[in-house]
């Protein structure tokens, strides 16, 4: 009987082989894991991956918050209050979302500073820098739209000032303000518009750009520190 069955190891590999044959996912994963990166890259080059971690953390806590939060002027503040005071570990989820945004902005600055000092935006990595810069601006947009959602005093007045700042732009300004607030005042539609921007439009844009950013990093190779030996010597060639 036993001769009819392949050895257990092969049975275990069957689903893996099935996936590999149909998608190439396994060899792709192997390439990603075992591709060589410059020898002297270091702790300084971990900030990008830390940012992805924080992005995942923000997405996860954001999804949990969205299960309880209701974006109307009557309920927004009440649900925030309920999440903070009543929900099991609600304060932790909301707090990590709130403070995660601050940490994300700090990490973005450090990541950008590291890229700047390493000159890692130079040929051929200009597009990696541009996608990163747009991610940075969109993250600031996330912070701005997220601020109103708590709907407390600070959120309300800071958003009014922020929207009015948009309104000072020539020609498009007043229209932009009107579009952001959905009318002349902050109201029901302002909240749902900010909510939609905050949890659908901006995160998907940021997610897409992160994907592009990483694709470029893998394609072009991680930049070695500027102090490392840049050129092969005769001995290496």
């Amino acid at each position: 009987m036993s001769t009819l069955l392949p050895p257990p190891k092969e049975i275990a590999m069957l689903p893996v082989d099935w996936v590999e044959e149909r998608s190439g996912a396994i060899s792709f994963g192997k390439y990603m894991l075992f591709r060589n990166v410059p020898k002297d890259i270091s702790w300084l080059q971990t900030l990008g991956s830390a940012l992805i971690t924080v992005f995942i953390l923000q997405a996860t806590t954001g999804i949990i918050l969205a299960m309880y939060y209701q974006p109307t002027p009557e309920t927004a503040w009440m649900t925030i209050q309920w999440i903070t005071n009543e929900a099991t570990l609600g304060w932790l989820v909301r707090g990590m979302h709130k403070w995660g945004s601050s940490v994300m902005v700090v990490l973005l600055f450090l990541h950008m500073g590291r890229t700047f000092l390493f000159g890692a935006y130079k040929y051929p990595r200009e597009m990696t820098w541009i996608t990163g810069a747009i991610i940075f601006i969109l993250v600031m947009g996330m912070s701005f739209t997220g601020y109103l959602l708590v709907f407390d005093e600070r959120a309300y007045w800071a958003t009014i000032v922020g929207v009015n700042i948009n309104g000072t732009a020539p020609i498009l300004g007043p229209a932009l303000s009107y579009i952001l607030m959905v009318g002349p005042e902050i109201g029901t539609h302002t909240l749902s518009r900010f909510y939609s921007l905050h949890m659908l439009v901006l995160p998907s844009a940021i997610g897409g750009l992160i994907f592009l950013h990483m694709l470029l990093v893998v394609r072009l190779g991680v930049t070695s520190p500027p102090w490392s030996r840049m050129e092969p010597t005769e001995r290496d060639v």
Binding site: L33, K39, L92, I137, D152, I165
Partner: protein, 290 residues
């Protein structure tokens, strides 16, 4: 500095990349190890800040509409947003302080656009276009004096703006007893404007003692807003706006008990204040109306 041809540049990169591939280390476990440690530290940091924030909350307030106070890291939440609330100091989250400070620097109506649109737009263009501005192919810092000085300057400028942007306005003095003064001092006006007669020291908008708006200007601005100033036509009644505009026109740049230069234009003042009634009571309505 040397200018490379496109071909030299491409071949230089390919040579370097091939060399690093050959003499590199595998992504797993080396980079994965570093990345995991740093990610864990970052998550622990976020959790630590959150726990510290939580630990300093006061008890859940008995009044369900009250704010839940906090310590060093701020309250759990402030009181519910209320457009009619009086005397609130608007402040953004810390990472917008640098923009907030620009708003304060260019606070006059003519210059406002410099702080709100022109400078931020220039910054964004420079940020995105930086690889096309810095054409120096060398990556070593010793060969990049200009880039290095910019790289040092930018954080200094941002941190300075952030520091000044974080300052809350100084405490004002006592309001006078003129009609409208108490309403001005207790109302939204005080958060942004300096007006000696009302004893306010808000540092966001123009100093009214210097701007000296006449009645018509003040009335239009309070009613419809302009720039970063909100419109108050939904918050205050016509009489109340007329009272505030009359008060501002009359007493901006007033010396002692002598009304200021625009006093004569402030029609209906102080009659409109009497019609509006004391401290504009009952105005905090329609806070959350759709």
């Amino acid at each position: 500095m040397p200018r490379l041809t496109a071909r030299e540049r491409r071949e230089g990169y390919q040579r370097e990349y091939a060399f690093q591939q050959r003499h590199g280390k595998p992504f797993f476990p080396h980079v994965v190890f570093h990345d995991t440690i740093v990610s864990l530290i970052v998550v622990a940091l976020i959790m630590g800040i959150t726990i510290l924030w939580y630990a300093q909350f006061g008890a859940i307030p008995t009044d369900p509409m009250a704010e839940r106070t906090g310590g060093l890291l701020g309250p759990a939440y402030e009181a519910k947003a209320d457009p009619g609330v009086l005397g609130y100091h608007p402040q953004p989250d810390w990472y917008f302080f640098f923009l907030f400070e620009l708003l304060r620097i260019f606070k006059t109506p003519e210059l406002l656009i410099v702080g709100t649109i022109i400078i931020p737009t220039i910054w964004m263009v420079l940020l995105i276009g930086w690889p096309f501005i810095d054409r120096n192919p060398d990556r070593r810092l010793s060969r990049r004096p200009i880039a290095l000085s910019i790289g040092v300057m930018v954080p200094i400028v941002l941190l300075t703006l952030t520091f000044y942007g974080s300052k809350v306005p100084a405490e004002g003095g006592a309001a006078s007893t003129e009609p409208g003064a108490a309403a001005f001092a207790a109302g939204a006006c005080s958060t942004c404007h300096v007006l000696a007669n009302a004893g306010t020291a808000g540092n966001v908008g123009p100093v009214l003692d210097e701007a000296k708006p006449d009645y018509a200007t003040a009335l239009a601005l309070i009613t419809n807003g302009q720039g970063s100033m909100p419109a108050f036509k939904a918050t205050y009644t016509e009489d109340e706006i007329s009272c505030l505009a009359g008060y501002v026109a009359t007493w901006s740049a007033a010396v002692g008990t002598t009304p200021g230069p625009n006093a004569a234009t402030a029609k209906d003042y102080p009659a409109s204040c009497e019609k509006a009634g004391g401290l504009f009571a009952g105005n905090a309505s329609s806070a959350a109306g759709p």
